[in-house]
């Protein structure tokens, strides 16, 4: 069995599962955010079950419209806060301690190798970088999980993506996953598990690995997953809140398809408007004037992303025609960025650094785009209207391309700022 199949089989108490099997599995941990929780809570109340299955295995995180942008969003957060109090849920995160849920929950050791993790947020697939089966669901499914600790799944076929070699300069985890989505399309992994492997992963930090599994959903994937090697285990052991057992694929695991990439031959890419699958090398898109640059989100708002951006911005300024937003994904990342001097670099460059929120990624609040505006964003989606007006346009990129574009005021390759002699991302 593949890693995904073995985790699902163990959680369904079955000796073996095959792709296509419909199973009911135990869920180790679940969460909802301030958009999905109010609906989930309403549906949970309808079940008549009364209490959540285990208060220690439910998290509620206000991240989308928090700090609240208006009265309506404040009311939604209030529903979630009051539910957490009523049910004495220890893992409700108040503003100031909350961050972007996917980054926060991994950082604080709530998601562990070998576990089944379900979130009412499509980017829950993020956590597969830890060797967990993690998938996004809607509010009703999440309500059922809160009620029972269980959920039904169709066992997915697994597509295996093998990264060979050492990634070329400026090729980040984000570039790798965008390359795949560009190649297989936004439904190329529909209903499938996407397993990422290969020696190139050894050159990626955990932060970069999360960017890859985070975007499995953009190829239609049910989950993204990586085997928990010692990079993962070293990262997760000091944080883990529970004992865990890593799960590894069997040697004879069957994959629906295996695709290999020589990462030393890849180059930085962007997803041009208005689909994550519309992937082109950044050199081909270079020159497009940019109104806004946004570095943040569950895809690329981690410390390593901020470090890469700061390398390009140190001693430089954001181009006069461009505005730049930096949103560290969690308070801990914000604090570390402050201590490393990254925040000062951003402020000196003329960028705004804000409290943790999903805000701009969904055109929700802060950094909403006007008609005709162009944004280079390290987020995961560039659908029509995603970040604001339906006639605004979004290019998705990694943090290096985003920072270079901020400096030059147009879509730019990092080499254009630092010169070809620069070593690229810090590896």
């Amino acid at each position: 069995m593949t890693t995904t199949e073995k985790i699902l089989a163990a959680h369904a108490d079955l000796p073996r599962v095959r792709p296509g099997d419909l199973i009911e599995a135990r869920v180790d941990f679940c969460f909802a955010n301030d958009i999905t929780a109010p609906l989930a809570i309403r549906e949970f109340e309808k079940t008549g079950v009364g209490t959540v299955f285990d208060p220690d295995r439910v998290a509620l995180v206000p991240d989308h419209y928090a700090p609240n942008k208006d009265i309506a969003s404040a009311e939604q957060c209030k529903v979630m806060r009051e539910f957490a109090r009523r049910h004495q849920l220890p893992h409700y995160f108040e503003v100031g301690r909350a961050g972007i849920a996917h980054v926060l929950l991994a950082e604080q050791g709530f998601v562990l190798p070998g576990e089944v993790f379900v979130g009412a947020d499509s980017h829950t697939c993020n956590h597969g970088a830890l060797g967990a089966f993690a998938t996004g669901v809607g509010s009703s499914d999440l309500a059922a999980v809160m009620a029972t600790g269980r959920l039904w799944f169709r066992v997915p076929e697994t597509l295996r993506f093998v990264f060979r070699g050492r990634p070329a300069p400026w090729v980040t985890g984000k570039d790798l996953v965008l390359r795949i989505i560009g190649d297989i399309g936004v439904d190329g992994a529909r209903y499938c598990a996407m397993e990422f492997a290969g020696e190139a992963l050894r050159h990626l930090t955990m932060d970069e690995r999360f960017s890859i599994t985070n975007m499995a959903v953009e190829a239609g994937g049910k989950n993204g997953i990586m085997e928990p090697d010692d990079v993962v285990l070293d990262w997760v052991r000091p944080r883990a809140r529970r004992p865990f057992t890593p799960v590894f694929a069997d040697p004879d695991a069957e994959y629906a398809r295996v695709v290999e990439y020589d990462t030393s031959r890849l180059e930085p890419v962007v997803s041009a408007p208005s689909s994550p699958g519309n992937v082109v090398p950044v050199r081909e898109a270079a020159g497009v004037p940019v109104d806004q640059v946004f570095i943040g989100t569950c895809t690329n708002g981690r410390l390593e992303d901020l470090r890469v951006a700061a390398r390009l911005l140190a001693g430089r300024t954001v181009h006069p025609r461009t505005r730049m937003l930096v949103i560290p994904a969690t308070p801990a990342i914000y604090r570390q960025a402050l201590e490393e001097g990254l925040v000062k670099i951003f402020l000196d460059a003329g960028a705004v650094v804000s409290a943790s929120t999903c805000g701009p990624c969904i055109g929700g609040h802060m950094g909403v785009l006007a008609a005709g505006e162009v944004c280079v964003s390290t987020s995961s989606r560039n659908f029509v209207g995603r970040m604001g007006h339906r006639e605004s346009r979004v290019y998705l990129s990694g943090p290096a391309v985003a920072a270079a574009s901020a400096v030059l005021g147009r879509l730019a390759h990092p080499d254009e700022v630092l010169g070809k002699t620069a070593a690229g991302v810090g590896r």
Partner: protein, 181 residues
Amino acid sequence: MTHRGTAWRLGDHVDTDVIIPARYLVTVDPKVLAAHCFEDLDPTLASRIRPGDIIVAGENFGQGSSREHAPIAIKGLGVACVIARSYARIFFRNAFNIGLPLFECRDLPDVTETGDVLVVDAGTGRIVNETKGTTHQAAPLPEFMRRLVAAGGIIEYVRQQVASGQLRREGAGGHGPAGGA
């Protein structure tokens, strides 16, 4: 159980951001969500769709976010069902859970245009395009999903188990170490 309605033909990869933009996700009221449904695809579409109409789309309908507000907005317009070549998986689960019927049909979208009159037999999955004079067959649902639909979605399914005292539920702290064999 057949339904006769007028088709609205949409394209491939219709995403949940155009079905209901995130800026409206500060309410769970179906009527408010419906008023903004498909707004970034065509700002006039919601006002032209009538109760009983049918959405016909291509591949990967509902890609993107997990927002259950997307099928709720479509249902809020009174749309009888959606027929597409394929669906994104989270949208697929959400639609069944909130009682918006979906049919997966490979060839009907090829011949169907906006304004065509369709007759859908929900029991057999047989779909007739009366305007074009063609007949099509939707893919059958897996048995387990048919039981879920019959129960009225996942919440009703859980509620019935609670009411009959047959709920299978994990206990607090009862999982033990995660994973393993």
